[in-house]
Symmetry: C2
Subunit: 249 residues, 2 copies
């Protein structure tokens, strides 16, 4: 049975304020919990139904978290998922370390992406295209938000991130190309991308802000053949990364 | 003020059963309502706040719907949006007419796409890439679901659809290429697409069903460079359509 105290502690982690205070976040559902147990993240507490625990008891061997056997109702009360009959993990937040684009590496830069669903989708897409690092403006949605973790479908375990002054970070490497998505850039189908670079994606409504825009060396645009006003930022990220990979082969 | 009867009628249209019974669906929010008023759809009832009506009173000139001036609270009670301070339209469902790929046309085929958000996103992407027709299995989410209409961001006014026996429909045109997204197909970066064809996208978990799979003449796959297990079906549709357009130029 889940104690009232532990249930309250887990509920507090729905909110960014308490995640920061406790240095911990939530991972929910079978696939994500299995992935986080097998990853480099430190799992402090694992709530599992009996069935999930029986099937996965060896997975937590390296981590030795505190383990509580609970019911689906406990998981649903403490967590954020409407239905969860498997598991929930309380995981330590990682240190916020700056990341840079090494030679032959692309790094994604998010300037004020506000929607947690979009951020989670972008993590998953980055992981599909082999992007290992994402740097985020402080105004970007919190990656530890349960909605982001859930939408990333486990990809949060394979992509590193840093939050901070993205313009300051880009200025420190003036020799590395900075690509950015704009409405008035060059056709993404005709660009030959370099093997090293930053790709900046901007806010859902307003695009890339002026400070970061000034640092973009190559503005790119996805050509439109019909009449939709815009593409969702997750979709746009996927299309640009696909064109980047395609141009390198 | 919104009468109880009208509010109840609108609430009933949240459900497919009543949409079919009344042959009507809901369009909500300023952008979507403006687009539907300017489209070929017949708007029967327009609920508008005073502010929205003052700004858009000429828009309904062609349609002459019944107009009710209401409050945001009325819109939120009758409609599905959490917040709506503009408008809601009750619109006539169109006749379900079969669609085929004409020469130099691509038609999207959806085999059991269940999630309304995904379907709405696919409508928007189709509209971006100039796809005008979508044919859907009867098991695909209802396009008139308010979540689909809302996620399509107005693109539902520019794309036509038909629901029915998609395998039967494809069999009637055996000379037209049928492309389909699979995990074991040819690399989408290396295919030269034809100007005429069908593109089949399958169910979120199970992909394209066996009956339709048997009719696919060209299996295609989006290459993976990292470790994510899969891409969302909306993202995959966008990437394939982008590669199709790119290969034609």
């Amino acid at each position: 049975m889940l104690s009232k105290n532990l249930s309250k502690f887990i509920q507090s982690l729905h909110q960014k304020k308490y995640r920061q205070e406790h240095g911990a976040f939530l991972v929910e559902g079978a696939k994500s919990v299995r992935e986080v147990l097998a990853s480099g993240f430190q799992v402090d507490i694992l709530l599992a139904t009996e069935a999930f625990y029986k099937e996965n008891d060896r997975l937590s061997d390296n981590q030795r978290p505190r383990i509580e056997i609970v019911t689906p109702a406990d998981l649903e009360r403490a967590g954020t998922l409407e239905s969860n009959n498997t598991a929930l993990a309380v995981v330590k937040i990682k240190e916020n370390r700056p990341l840079i684009a090494e030679p032959n590496e692309w790094v994604l830069v998010l300037d004020d992406i506000r929607d947690p669903g979009n951020l989670g989708t972008i993590l998953r897409i980055a992981d599909w295209y082999g992007i290992r690092k994402i740097i985020c403006s402080d105004t970007t949605a919190d990656v530890y938000n349960p909605k982001v973790i859930s939408a990333s479908k486990g990809s949060f375990t394979r992509v590193a991130w840093w939050y901070g002054d993205i313009a300051g970070q880009l200025k420190q490497h003036p020799d590395v190309p900075v690509y950015g998505a704009f409405l008035d850039g060059s056709d993404v189908h005709r660009i030959t991308f370099g093997r090293t670079g930053y790709l900046v994606m901007g806010n859902e409504s307003n695009g890339i802000g002026p400070e970061v825009a000034a640092l973009v060396s190559q503005r790119i645009t996805i050509p439109r053949y019909g009449e939709a006003e815009s593409l969702n930022v997750g979709i746009a990220t996927a299309i640009i990364l696909d064109n980047w990979r395609r141009s390198l082969t």
